[in-house]
Amino acid sequence: MAKKNFNNALKKAFSKDALTIYLVVAIYAVISIMLYGDLASRQLTNMLISVSCYIVLAVSLNLVVGLLGELSLGHAGFMSVGLFSGCLFSMWTVDLIPMLYIRLPLAMIFGGLFAAIVGFVVGLPALRLKGDYLAIVTLACGEIIKNIITNLEITGGALGLTTTNSGSYIYSKPKVLLPYAIVLVLITVVVMMNIKKSRHGRAIMAIRDNRIAAEATGVNVTYYKLIVFVLAAFFAGAAGVLYGHSFANIKPAVFNYNMSIEILVIVVLGGMGSINGSIIAAIALKALPEMLRGLDKYRMLIYSIVLIVVMLLNSNQKFIEFKSKFSFKSLLKMKKKSKKEEISNEQ
């Protein structure tokens, strides 16, 4: 009996989900040591918060694209709704609650809720539309959000929101914000993982695989489609609030369809439905243009070529075979086990 418990514990400790958490913790542990030990380069330091935000954005978009199987091109719109509402909340309450460790989480919840409401509204068409028609509607919603915020006076309009004005100073340095980023990433990952594993996650994936069959077996399609959009928007909004606190000036025009597409690229590159894939892809895709800075004016050209080549290689049968011979798991002789895992994942 004791042995069985032990085995179960061992299984749990080495399950795929646990490994994802270990991965996140390990990455952030290394980064924290580097950052607080003054070992990190300035370039790395200045990227930490925005990359963390992209991780949250990608993991939350993965819920819509990977699990529900609907293409969303408006994720940046949710982020900007959360960013502007949350940062305004933070600016208004900065005198009332000077403690960042209370104000920032409150602002994130406030911004997240605001984004969730917008997510609910955007999710409504998803009940009737699908595929590319839904994709264009989410893109349209993102552009409408951008247009509206640009015309709002309260958010500074086209001048953008300035977070360093005296009286409403909410700007913070990466060293201050990193713990909040770590907590936000961990919460997002854990929530998404649990949704994926749970009854609800299976219901969502059933909708993706065959909506009519899912409906016939009693899955409430309306409810799940909406909840997916609302949840994804909530986390995107919360990430936006954190993002907004790390820059002195934020303009609504930044959050256009190009940014939504950028997040989508992370999700697709990391693998549909794969949480650790999204995490790694977010880091890699954000680091790549920074690493290419030495290439001067050829930087973005090389970036686009790398993107195309990675996509082509990923679908090349020979390359997949070649690579699988050298994958980590085959090196560790865990092939049998991994196959088993794959089968259980596919179910």
Partner: protein, 387 residues
């Protein structure tokens, strides 16, 4: 497939970590080298502005190095791409600091400059932005200065000039609604409208996404009875507007623009399109001053015939302002102690004769210089004299 992707990405990530950790440490630093860093959009939708600044600054650097540098320093300009995004600009600032940047040209655009100015606060490094004109672009950092005018000072100056001189008072405003430069000028202009007896008969706008088709705006201004159009926009959009408006307005129609319109004569397909364009600007590429003409010639040679705009002129002057401050503070390769403090202090004590006029700086970081008002007649810009 999933496994493979994550493997490739994991490898990339590991490489990335090493690249970040190692850079900046084994870089050999040359004691006689003054590293000036610049950040701006070199690719993407705003790439024309970033490249103009970069070209202007590079010309100044080449000139100074050819004449023996500054106090024994040779200048090395490291200009990084930001794609117009604060996120990338702040990362670029970090990269420049890692590579030993000593003086910064800040950022080209206001939004990214504000974020870099905040991120650089504790470094104390001199940030002299050529072109970030939004009022809030240099706040909250005592080491931040700018070469261009602030948006509000320009908008007010424009309204006051129109009020004080015999110019039409029935004015239509044509502005770009989603950029800070245009909005900042418009708001400041509107705040002074009543004082100067100006009547706004129409307000038409566009956004970056709709900057190709101005037909409806032109029709609206046609019917509004405006006698002059105030255009606080940049030369690219203005040249599109003037080309599309060709033959649509009365010949007596005047167009009033600010420093954003600099270089418009070189951008339009036909100089006749710019007839009756008034410019309130510290820089005009047609100014006969030797300094200006040398700069214009060098710029044309470098870019294959392009006329420098406000961004290029500001970039050029920024480098010369740094040179003046270095000389004032008497910083030499041997005496570099308190580098940042000495050069920032010197900024408020210098006067620089640049292509954008005679400049000095206030402690707030704002520049003090006189704008000229030029009018374009028969394809040539000349000083405007009120009748």
């Amino acid at each position: 497939m999933k496994k493979l992707t994550s493997l490739v990405l994991a490898l990339l990530m590991i490489v990335a970590c090493f690249a970040f950790a190692s850079c900046g440490e084994n870089e050999e630093k040359n004691a006689n080298e003054l590293v000036i860093g610049g950040i701006g959009p070199l690719t993407g939708a705003y790439a024309n502005y970033g490249n103009s600044v970069k070209n202007g600054a590079e010309i100044a650097v080449a000139e100074i190095n050819a004449r023996g540098g500054i106090n024994g320093f040779t200048i090395k300009l490291d200009f990084q791409d930001s794609v117009g995004n604060p996120e990338s600009a702040v990362a670029a600032y970090g990269k420049l600091m890692d590579d030993g940047m000593m003086v910064s040209l800040g950022c080209v655009l206001s939004g990214e400059n504000a974020s870099v100015v905040a991120a650089a606060k504790e470094d104390g490094i001199l940030l002299l932005t050529p072109s970030a004109s939004a009022d809030n672009a240099i706040v909250d950092n005592d080491a931040a200065f700018r070469v261009c005018f602030s948006d509000s000072s320009q908008g007010i100056a424009a309204a006051d000039y129109i009020g004080a001189n015999n110019l039409p008072k029935k004015i239509a405003i044509f502005y770009q609604a989603d950029i800070d430069y245009s909005n900042g000028l418009r708001e400041a202009f509107l705040s002074k409208v009543a004082d100067n007896g100006i009547e706004i008969v129409a307000e038409e706008s566009f956004t970056t996404d709709t900057a190709s088709d101005f037909s409806t705006q032109i029709t609206a201004i046609q019917t509004s009875g405006a006698e002059m159009i105030f255009m606080p926009i940049y030369a690219d959009e203005a040249s599109t507007f003037l080309t599309q408006a060709q033959g649509k307005f009365d010949e007596s129609m005047l167009y009033f623009g600010c420093d954003g319109l600099d270089g418009i004569l070189g951008k339009v397909a036909d100089p006749a399109l710019c007839e009756n364009v008034l410019l309130l600007t510290p820089f005009a590429a047609d100014e006969p001053k030797e300094l200006v003409q040398n700069f214009v010639a060098a710029y044309k040679e470098k870019t294959g015939g392009a006329t420098p705009d406000q961004f290029a002129a500001d970039g050029y002057d920024a480098v010369y302002a740094i040179k003046a401050a270095m000389e004032k503070a008497d910083i030499t390769p041997e005496s570099q102690a308190d580098f940042n403090k000495r050069i920032v202090e010197a900024m408020t004590q210098i006067t620089v004769e640049g292509v954008t006029g005679n400049m000095s700086w206030e402690a707030s970081g704002e520049t003090v210089k006189l704008p000229l008002v030029m009018i374009i007649k028969s394809g040539v810009a000349q000083l405007y004299t009120a009748e």
